[in-house]
Subunit: 367 residues, 2 copies
């Protein structure tokens, strides 16, 4: 399903050379307000009462502003699923054992997991990027090797990764996303796989928001209540040990983050730098978005918030960042599954904009 070329570096393709985090951040411009306005006018001229297709209308207006066209096209879609392991699982804060990361790293690119079967609905390609799975993986066309290290360190006692590794994880996401964009992808989604990764996500949100870890820590994948209390203690210990600087996203990511979280932040930054919308998935993607937005607040307008995850901290985190999700389906799977569902909505909204008859075609005034 995935075309081999989508990730291969070619000729004088701009992805040929490494794109640094700094270059990417400086390339991001505000979305085009003038074209947003023109897109709104176009939508208001469609054959329906003004405003009557609600969020579909807003969605298209946002896409117009991002892509700088009143007729945005999202035919070629990809979900970048970033996978990595977490040293923190030693503390017993997950329901599933660590080897599930490796297992899912193989299954996700086969389109037989939650994100895969839903992605097939809109012909979205899945690219799984191993940024730090703690296993030797056999790679294939859409299971690519960008391993930085075999999992993070246990943040309860050491910082999760070095500052250089944190930057490198973001640059992996930038490289992969830029490659996809250079090969024609016009809609990106983020997803992840990493047993234990709600823990660093909660830690990131606690640091960036200044909230108590209790408020932003939930049950992940069916963790029993007593273990959730341990998880909260672990996060408190890590924050008090490393004292991450909330104004320095790289510091936060390196001390209490995860490699796949960095890579997802990179995908978002590259999307914004290249005027390609990025659909964020659930709670872990939201933590990545918080990192990306801290690095450059302009990123936010390039992100589309797919759904309200039912992981406990999701609602708080979206609210903290000022996102309103399009869907609330009780999902808490991750992988990019919510982003994949949102792709269908976006397809619908784009069809509305491009295929509906207009008042003008019917020789009528707008109602």
């Amino acid at each position: 399903m995935v075309q081999e070329t989508l990730l291969k570096k070619e000729g004088n393709n701009s992805a040929e050379s490494l794109i640094t985090l700094e270059e990417t951040i400086s390339k991001i411009k505000p979305v085009n307000e003038e074209i947003k306005q023109k897109t709104r006018e176009k939508v208001d001229g469609l054959l329906k009462p003004v405003g009557s297709l609600g969020l579909f209308e807003n969605m298209v207006v946002q896409l117009g502003g991002i892509m700088e066209t009143t007729s945005p096209n999202v035919d070629k879609k990809a979900i970048v699923v970033c996978a990595a392991d977490h040293g923190i699982v030693e503390e017993g804060i997950t329901a599933a054992p660590k080897f599930v990361t490796e297992l899912m790293t193989y299954q996700i690119p086969k389109y037989v997991t939650g994100v895969g079967v839903i992605a097939k609905q809109t012909n979205a390609e899945i690219v799984l990027v191993d940024v730090g799975v703690d296993a030797d993986i056999e790679y294939s066309d859409n299971l690519v090797n960008r391993k930085i290290r075999k999992g993070t360190a246990n943040m309860r006692t050491e910082q999760a990764m070095t500052r250089e590794e944190a930057i490198q994880s973001i640059e992996v996401g930038i490289e992969i996303a830029t490659n996809l964009i250079n090969n024609g992808v016009t809609l990106l989604g983020t997803g992840e796989m990493g047993i234990g990764n709600t823990t660093p996500s909660s830690a990131i949100m606690a640091v960036l928001s200044g909230e108590d870890p209790e408020k932003v820590t939930g049950a992940g994948a069916n963790l029993p209540d007593d273990k959730v209390l341990v998880k909260i203690e672990v996060i408190k210990d890590a924050i008090s040990l490393h004292k991450p600087d909330k104004d320095d996203a790289i510091d936060v990511l390196s001390k209490v983050g995860g490699l796949e979280i960095g890579a997802m932040a990179g995908v978002m930054l590259a999307g914004a730098a290249n005027k390609v919308p990025v659909v964020i998935d659930g709670f872990i993607s939201t933590a990545a978005a918080a990192i990306a937005i801290t690095l450059n607040p302009l990123v936010k307008d390039y992100l589309i918030c797919s759904h309200m995850s039912h992981e406990k901290a999701a609602a708080f985190s979206l609210d903290f960042l000022g996102f309103k999700p399009y869907l609330d389906l009780g999902f808490r799977l991750g992988e990019g599954s919510g982003a994949a569902v949102a792709f269908s909505l976006i397809d619908g909204a784009v069809r509305m904009n491009n295929e509906m008859s207009t008042y003008a075609e019917q020789n009528l005034g707008v109602v």
Copy 2:
């Protein structure tokens, strides 16, 4: 796009003879709780934490119970859009002029309106049924003539239609839906077109719920506030003149209803009688559902509530009937547009159930 055969009566097809309302009502059985339970067990065995795909899981369990299979298939879908006019528009309670019903009656089957462009996403067919458009229409394969009368009477002074016409309108919906089902459709949606039809919908909900018309009357398609007050008065007048019996749905439909509302109720009854799920759209479809459920409360479990319309009375009405919508996208267009979006979700949920790998396949226990 629409196959001609879908609506043609053929050979000894059971749709050959008229199916009465009474026969249909008596044919409806409760959904199969045992197969619901088995479907839940199947979903719990999929390769994901139990419950982590939230409402997709519930959706499939409901489909399983309705269709009596743990592997429901919804490949062939149709939206029945019922069109009719309303005598009540004489009272000046609509923003759009009456001829828009006729105009949209031609445009909807061309797949160039809101419902059409969205329906194309899931290859859902649209069948527009003229139950009472106040114009002479040129019919075609998916624009079918079942006109009962040219619009209802103005319910402020006369009852909207006779009791016989009300039954006939429901039987039109039964016939059309049964025909589609006999031709392989396994997922139905309801939609409507009828300038003025939020007024009878509000009247129906006021009568059936016993609420004050003010609580269940909104702005329809962008009606100014002062006209909404007129609309409320009109509804109050109609109810106090005709005194519809809330326990007799046909009485309510005939006195303060609409021909397309009756036809949609018929689609729902036929779906339930034939174990085919019916996706209801917004407020007007909800009023039709209220009629169908009053006729036989078992219908409710066969209905899938697509979205929370932003017509004022939608939230109250869904709550009154005990529905929880899957989507809240700010739609208030009607036509079946919200049902069409829900078709994508249902497709996704069905893919989850039929295409995801299982814990058993991975030699793992359920987490």
